[in-house]
Amino acid sequence: MEPLASYPSGEPLRPTPLPLPSSGVPPGPSVPGTVALEVEHVTKLFGPVRALSDVSFRVPAGQIVGLLGPNGAGKSTMMKAILGILRPEAGSIRVFGREVRDQAVEIRREVGFVPETPALYEFLTGAEYLDFIADLYGMEPGVRRARIEPFLHALELVGHEDALISGYSHGMKQKVALTAALIHRPRLLILDEALNGFDPRSARIVKDLLRRLTGEGVGVLFSTHVLEIADAICDRIVILDRGQVRAEDTMAALRARGGTAAVGLEELFLTLTGTGDLPEVVRGLSP
């Protein structure tokens, strides 16, 4: 089996022969202007805590939208609400025009989700877990190998797939979770810190994979703490802080807002989230 991609040192990147989506389930709409995800005025309360407050943004089909924010900003809560795992007190969330509140189970068939901490069944082997996930999506036995094995090769899981997940490293678990999110060919991908624990080669493969998926019309909502990754791969950025959207725009527009094209995402992020007092903090730490 040929790997998805290989990157010999010093050589230019080869095109990645991805398993998506050549046959079977039709690909998502790649019609320009189609909206994969619409979040409108969403508010989520946990008792007295306002985890999300009047949050609105969109993920157009064929684009990667970066969801950025400091710890506790509400990013994971937002992602769980999109999947229908959490129910907002107010607002509307639509995936390809369908209301999540009403059709959560059906919508999940079109969504792939990678949580921040992989929640796998550790008593199963990697292959058994992927078979289990394929069962949940009603995937025909005949197509499973063709869907799963390219990911195992590309993410260097071959040789480990028949070992119990409990023996995997964090990065390997994250790779299994990513594979599980992709094998049913979702039209919307929700990735919560999905590259945590990935080695550089695998991280690069995933970044290229995301680019290729968006070319096929898949919408991607991508949460990360690594601003360089967001800067490199995201078409639009949503900055969330204390449950509220502080900014939503393209990178270029955000830079323009910063007054100069040279301003980095980090400076913008720190300014918008009110954590721009770093020099003083660092001075306080110095002996």
Partner: protein, 539 residues
């Protein structure tokens, strides 16, 4: 050996024990601190002291010499009970603790010597399970005051504390060995490894039931006495022999057995340290891999009426039951109770004993179903996110969870019915009736347990597996037993005692009607609960 390090490590392990429960998860609460156990011990000892003194004084006034009789029976048992209870509780609760929470991974890189960890862990185990000894010491103190047997009591108390430590050392030895076994089979899902582990735990549970059952020990001490009997060759009973000899005034024998007990403790400590140093290390598992054949999971389950999605969920849960170390006791305990209880049935007692046997069969099968169903959702732990994030309708979860319990407990009920029938020599109609009442008990318990599980499951990772919140588990167990008694009881008398005649028919109708109502209500409540649970993930 650094005593300060041992004390600090023991404090950490006790805190881990105390904070594993939801109620005491607040580290600043009184119940989250070790002193809570000490206060509980003192209160229990004082209560046992007062109650026993009142009983002994009262009975001694009716029957002179009762105090001496009580001293002869109770004081020698204290050391044996201490070892037995720690060992049984340790096997049930300590061996299932995940290595992460037992700090066992940390000690591989912390500057701790094996003896320091073994002593700290043993002190923590002994302290955690000291309540039973506190009760025994309180009761023993009352007997000593009533009889003046102060020296014998002090010896029993000292050997009782030593007994707690002996139990702790034994647990550490078993833990080190099982850790090595787990490390060797880690990463393997081979059927032989799994079967060996299950058989090993089953043998261990059976052996402990027979060897350290306090009732059995009481029978040994009470019937054969200890004077020069065969029990003198059982090291774990040397403490008991010492106290018994001291009580008789044979101080030399008492001292010899006490010294032997101290030597045994030292030997067990040395063995535990050696095993730990040798086995408690990470070992690289040797893996032999074969290509995985992708395909629909567990197609054989479709024969039981499960749809493709449910079959996959059931298959995954079955693998979890067989492969997860913490699930083994849940699966095996009913088998152990069944085996022990079956031997306790008395076929020679005639027809009058048949209703009891039918009732026992129904209760054991029902309780098995109850434990499986109450834990069925909580055992998903963090993996429950898979059921929320993927397209799994709540009704499929309900059918899979209920179906698996009905399948396992139903099979168990049929096997148990056959065993009861053979043991008691039941005729065919009575056997069929026994089976029907056991299956009814299974159905009741399955849905009642699932109704609790849907509302009170605990999906968090904790040091000791806690699939249902403790208060809910208590309520489910007591409520379930009550309901089972109420329904299976009348059925047992109707089936097992033909002499009841028309009243028997009334019993049968009452039991059957009540069982139908319980099953119906339980089914409705469980299904509604699962629907609500999967409407939104608990925060």
């Amino acid at each position: 050996m650094d005593l300060h390090r041992i004390r600090r490590m023991a404090e950490v392990l006790v805190a881990s024990q105390l904070r594993s429960g939801r109620a005491s998860s607040n580290p600043h609460s009184f119940l989250g601190r070790g002193v809570a156990l000490l206060v509980l011990d003192v209160v229990a000892a004082l209560a046992a002291f007062g109650f026993t003194l009142w009983v002994v004084d009262g009975l001694a006034s009716i029957q002179p010499g009762f105090g001496a009789l009580a001293a002869g029976l109770v004081l020698p048992l204290i050391p044996a009970i201490a070892v037995g209870l720690v060992l049984v509780a340790g096997v049930m609760f300590e061996l299932t603790t995940t290595a992460r929470f037992a700090s066992s991974d940390a000690v591989n890189w912390l500057p701790l010597r094996p003896i320091e960890y073994v002593l700290a862990s043993t002190f923590a185990i002994a302290f955690s399970y000291s309540l039973s000894l506190a009760l025994a010491l309180g009761a023993g103190a009352a007997i000593a005051v009533a009889t003046g047997e102060y020296l014998t009591y002090l010896l029993a108390a000292g050997l009782g504390v030593l007994g707690l430590l002996e139990g702790g050392f034994l647990i550490e030895m078993i833990r080190a060995v099982t850790q090595r076994v787990s490390a060797v089979v880690a990463g393997r899902a081979a059927r032989v490894s799994l079967a060996l582990r299950i058989v090993g735990v089953l043998v261990m549970l059976l052996a402990l039931q027979f060897a350290f059952n306090p009732v059995l020990l009481y029978d040994v001490v009470g019937t054969s006495g200890l004077n020069g009997t065969w029990t003198a060759v059982i090291p774990i009973l040397w403490g008991t022999h010492s106290v018994e000899a001291a009580g008789r005034g044979d101080l030399l024998s008492g001292a010899v057995f006490a010294a032997a007990t101290v030597a045994l403790s030292a030997l067990l400590l040395a063995a535990a340290v050696r095993l730990r140093a040798r086995y408690w290390n990470p070992v690289a598992p040797e893996l032999k891999l074969s290509p995985h054949e992708y395909g629909a999971s567990h197609p054989w389950l479709r024969r039981f009426g499960f749809g493709p999605l449910e079959a996959s969920l059931v298959g995954k849960d079955l693998q979890g039951l067989l492969r997860r170390r913490e699930m083994t006791p849940f699966l095996l305990l009913p088998l152990v109770l069944g085996a022990v209880g079956l031997l306790g049935l008395d076929p020679g007692a005639g027809p009058s004993s048949v209703p009891g046997a039918v009732l026992w069969g129904g209760m054991v099968a029902g309780l098995f179903a109850l434990f499986l169903s109450t834990t069925s959702l909580g055992q998903e732990r963090r993996g429950v996110l898979n059921l929320y994030a993927n397209p799994v309708p709540p009704r499929s979860v309900f059918r899979a969870k209920a179906g698996l319990v009905l399948l396992l407990a139903g099979t168990f009920a049929v096997v148990l019915t056959g065993a009861v029938s053979l043991r008691m020599g039941l005729d065919l109609p009575t056997t069929i009736g026994t089976g029907a009442s056991a299956l009814a008990a299974v159905a009741e318990s399955t849905f009642l347990g699932l109704a609790f599980a849907a509302r009170y499951s605990d999906f968090q990772e904790r040091p000791r597996p806690q699939y249902l919140r403790p208060t809910a588990m208590l309520a489910a167990s007591l409520g379930g037993m009550f309901v089972l008694l109420l329904t299976v009881g009348p059925l047992a008398f109707a089936i097992g005692d033909p002499a009841l005649g028309a009243i028997g028919l009334d019993f049968l109708l009452f039991g059957a009607l009540l069982a139908t109502v319980v099953i119906g209500l339980g089914f409705w409540s469980a299904r509604r609960g699962v629907d609500r649970l999967f409407a939104e993930m608990p925060s």
